[in-house]
Symmetry: C2
Subunit: 325 residues, 2 copies
């Protein structure tokens, strides 16, 4: 993995990906006690940054592989990103999703033309299911994070951050990234290493799913004891990726661990102050900026708002429980 | 009023205004039966396009006038736009607002440093109150729409649309604009007349508050029989502006009239498909694109999503009453 792969992915994504805005608000700065910048990837096609990696991976396939089709496993955002990118490339897609994924994510993936295969998150192994169908039907497996072209695609978000931060007059900053398997985190870290070396990437994870934070602290991969039970469904992964961990170990600062309640509060803030809809996992970096400022240094903090595929009940609850005014 | 004033306003706004994205979604296209593009001005500073006009007007004042301070009357979006622009210019601001304006709008305006004067929308005349305080305290009155520099500021949104439409490969389109007094509508119409002459601006108004639609049909200004009672609080004005009506008469196509229910439905669509929070008046142009397609021509339609300053109860109701999946 290197910056050239990310630049090449950016070239392939040109004209197809949305350049998402870097938003700020004096109201939010006041809560955090420093300037907060939110990279609104929830406004990306399919409502999350995952379209970047999906497009990057599929556009890098041979025409034979595209014709044969692709398969992916995902709780819902990678699912939609791969489904739309496949549809736009004229490739068929099979997506393996947990049966308890948010309804919106399952419905959207189907509507984007993909064949959805549901599995039980508590008793079945999605990797095994993905590998089996991939082999049986000759489909290319597009892993959600441990895949170089996926990491390269997510890294294009970092290229945009470097440009937008320069335009906004931000020199040094902690860059908070929601972290599941580490595809987005490691991709952005590789971009900023070259394009904005005074910025430092910090993974952000939910309480009890802090495998990356603990892995970085100990220097070797750690595993979570639970596999489900957080509202941050998008970033609940058992352990850091084989490809992503060495990159994060080399480039990232310490992880930050955030409660589900703080994510709901941050969803309400993003809704009220930025007019952007975030899902819990998409709001976790903003939550870290707002409520864990003691673990952050510098005048500016940048947080990635990675996705907005949330069911209506969840956001209505967040607004009712944590009103901003 | 002419394009040069709008270009000059764009120069003054440079580096201060946000270039809001032009969003699309295959899900939304499917509802409308054509390609729908949404200019997300809810993502503008203060959550609506009104920051453009506020900044344009205040930045055009003499330094003496800035020092003396400004006054504005508004149901809430112009209020916040003027308050923030005044604060950023170091000018004091008095804002006259109806006592039944959304709580969020009143609180935000105060938090942005303005002195808020409340009045009763049913029994008092905001123009009279504004003029009286302006005279007594030597403040410059910044009218919400019948003011050339305000129209010029709103027109900068049209310059962006022309550029973004070209980049997206849109040649001709109806451009649907939520319409109260007509500041945004006439400003965009003036920009597109020069920069995208194959586009046609269409004002969109709430049922019972369709003064502009009827005025355009009859050729002379008409007045609404009611002064309140729509959930589209931002665009309830009694009659077209003296400056804005001649511009709209010369440049606009027929108006489109939309129910409150359709606005709530469109809010749910914008929430689910674009991850953007809209207030009812901010969703009315999208509602026209989605549910009044028989009044629109062409393969593409552009709609302005003008603002997102909505109280939580209202959006929770929209999501509950009109679920997208």
């Amino acid at each position: 993995m290197n910056i050239e792969m990310i630049r090449a992915a950016a070239q392939r994504l040109k004209g197809h990906v949305r350049r998402t805005p870097l938003l700020n608000s004096t109201f939010v700065d006041e809560i955090a006690g420093r300037r907060v910048w939110m990279k609104a990837e929830a406004l990306q096609h399919t409502g999350s940054f995952k379209f970047r990696g999906g497009w990057s991976a599929i556009s890098a396939l041979s025409s034979e592989a595209k014709t044969a089709g692709v398969i992916a496993f995902s709780s819902g955002n990678h699912a939609q990103g791969v489904a739309l990118a496949a549809q736009m490339h004229g490739a068929s897609a099979v997506i393996v999703m947990p049966s308890n994924a948010p309804k919106l994510k399952v419905e959207n993936t189907r509507s984007l033309g993909a064949e959805v295969v549901l599995y039980d998150r508590d008793t079945e192994d999605r990797e095994e299911i993905g590998q089996r169908i991939s082999k049986a039907r000759g489909l290319t497996l597009i892993k959600p994070y441990d895949e170089p072209e996926v990491i390269a695609g997510q890294g294009t978000c970092g290229l945009e951050i470097a440009e937008q931060a320069t335009a906004a007059g931000i020199k040094a900053a902690d860059v908070l990234v929601c972290c599941g398997g580490g595809g987005l985190t490691s991709g952005i870290a590789l971009s900023l290493e070259v394009e904005a070396p005074d910025m430092r990437v910090r993974p952000v994870e939910p309480v009890d799913f802090d495998d990356v934070t603990r892995s970085l602290a100990k220097g070797v991969p750690q595993t979570n004891s639970r596999f489900g039970g957080s509202i941050c469904d998008a970033i609940v992964t058992p352990t850091p990726g084989d490809l992503t961990f060495p990159i994060m170990k080399r480039l990232c600062g310490a992880g930050i661990v955030v409660s589900d309640q703080a994510c709901l509060r941050a969803m309400s803030v993003a809704f009220t102050r930025f007019k952007v809809v975030l899902e819990p996992g998409g709001a976790i970096a903003l939550a870290a900026a707002l409520y864990h400022g003691d673990q952050i240094s510098g005048e500016d903090v940048i947080c990635i708002a990675s996705g907005g595929n949330v069911d209506a009940d969840m956001i209505s609850q967040a607004l009712a429980d944590y009103p901003c005014i």
